[in-house]
């Protein structure tokens, strides 16, 4: 066998699976004549991966090459968990004016970092102010 011999191709049929699951909930509570509370939350779990690949090549065919592809499916696995939880408290100051205070947490967990590294992160978003009907 000389260098750079070429024998053809080895192949395997494989599947890619994407799985997603989402739940969400919102609620509005009129606590009394002046106070009300809006809450919202959602959780999403998403995964994408493909099956391990198996190709068979007679060992004597090649010397330097490696046809064990069983681990390559893990290079591009994706798995994210996203959580959003928030609430806004409203206080009616008059018939036309109200004040609000809202807090929302956004979180993303990267359980299978890809080429971008671990992109996990979270944000706590707070807002407050007044609203007037003109």
């Amino acid at each position: 066998m000389g260098a750079y011999e070429h024998f053809g191709s080895a192949s395997d049929v494989f599947d890619n699976d994407t799985e997603i699951a989402t739940v969400y909930l919102t609620g509005q509570f009129q606590i009394d004549a002046h106070w009300s509370l809006d809450v919202n939350g959602s959780f999403t779990n998403s995964k994408a991966k493909f099956d391990p690949i198996e190709v068979s090549v007679p060992e004597e065919t090649v010397v330097k090459a490696d046809y064990d592809f069983s681990g390559i499916n893990e290079y591009s696995d994706l798995e994210f968990k996203q959580l959003e939880v928030g609430g806004t408290l409203n206080k009616m100051l008059s018939e036309k004016a109200s004040a609000y205070l809202g807090v929302t947490y956004f979180g993303l967990t990267d359980d299978a970092p890809y080429v971008y590294g671990d992109v996990s992160g979270s944000v706590l978003y707070t807002r407050a102010g007044f609203q007037v009907r003109l």
Partner: protein, 337 residues
């Protein structure tokens, strides 16, 4: 396996493949003939029968019983229509509800058109009398028309603070029926619809029949290019699926993979392309350095990691390019530059 054996190819035409086509073509032809014949010969009026002899009585007559509707109507868009704005010449309540004399006399609901409950085709016919040129030509061909979704199903014609007299703001209004699309927007990669930076009708022409999904524009790709004009081309070096249909690679409503990719790389690419031939090679265990001083740590499977993780690290210009790639053997079209 080596040198995969080729299987016989059967490039069957659909009309060769199954009897359904043989049945369908005559059936559709018969339907077309029947349609033409019936339409020309039959009475296809959708209006309630009582309206055929009714006359117009004016808004004051309507207000006598429906006073509660007047404030919103009069301050709303339709309440202020002047005759010169109405191609049919009729304004006021009866422009949409039809001549009201029969209903005024009988007070029967069936003696007047009520768009809130009427057949969607009748409602559309009434609305299109004025709005046909407002991007509504071809409404009869739309999925909404076929699905019996009436204009009044989305619009509050007596008055609304939402643009276009919508019953509610987008995307909430659309999500009321299209829950599956709303759920896709929760995925990590999505257009900024939940964030309020886009709305459904930026992409969907919900009034007109068009391409699949009632997309805006002359072809699906043209819609995408209206915002992503840097992908538009035409380019010297093309990537066939970009020309064919953006949705071959991208899932517009949401995806797990970055950039709305239907699947992550390299699987997406491996569906049409084979693995880079260097992926079969092994790597040394340990540090190395190139002549130029670049290097790192190599492992046994490092060639596989390099070649089978993300194709666009090298083939960056997958949407097309005018600049030739470096390799002569690839004809300059490897889309790496």
């Amino acid at each position: 396996m080596i040198g995969v054996e080729r299987t016989p190819i059967s490039w069957a035409r659909p009309w060769r493949a199954g009897p359904w086509f043989v049945v369908l073509v005559p059936a559709m032809t018969a339907l077309a003939i029947a349609t033409v014949g019936t339409a020309l010969a039959g009475d296809s009026k959708l209006m309630p029968p009582a309206l055929s002899s009714a006359r117009y009585v004016g808004d004051d007559e309507c207000a006598a019983c429906h006073e509660d509707l007047l404030p919103a109507h009069e301050s709303g868009y339709h309440g202020g229509i002047e005759p010169f704005q109405a191609p049919q010449g009729q304004t006021g309540c009866e422009a949409c509800h039809g001549p009201g004399s029969a209903h005024a006399e009988s007070t029967e609901a069936g003696d007047i058109v009520n768009p809130a409950t009427a057949n969607a085709a009748l409602v559309a016919e009434l609305c299109l009398g004025c709005h046909r040129n407002d991007g509504l030509d071809g409404h009869e061909h739309s999925e909404h028309a076929l699905g019996d979704v009436s204009c009044a199903g989305c619009h509050e014609v007596h008055g609304s603070q939402e643009p276009g007299l919508l019953q509610a703001a987008e995307p909430e209004l659309c999500a009321g029926c299209h829950q599956d699309v709303r759920d896709q927007m929760f995925l990590p990669s999505h257009h900024p619809v939940p964030e309020g930076k886009m709305v459904c009708t930026d992409c969907h022409d919900i009034h007109r029949g068009g391409f699949q999904g009632q997309l805006v524009g002359e072809a699906p790709n043209e819609l995408c290019f209206s915002c992503h004009a840097n992908k538009q081309g035409p380019f010297v070096y093309e990537h066939d699926p970009v020309i064919e249909d953006c949705s071959i690679c991208h899932s517009a409503h949401g995806a797990v993979a970055n950039s709305l990719l239907v699947q992550n790389e390299p699987f997406l690419c491996l569906q049409c392309h084979q693995a880079h031939f260097h992926a079969t090679l092994q790597g040394i265990e340990g540090e190395f350095e190139s002549l130029e001083g670049y290097g790192g740590v190599s492992h046994r499977d490092s060639a596989k990691q390099a070649m089978l993780t993300k194709c666009t690290q090298c083939h960056t210009e997958v949407h097309g390019s005018d600049l030739p790639s470096q390799s002569i053997s690839g004809g300059g079209g490897a889309l790496t530059r």
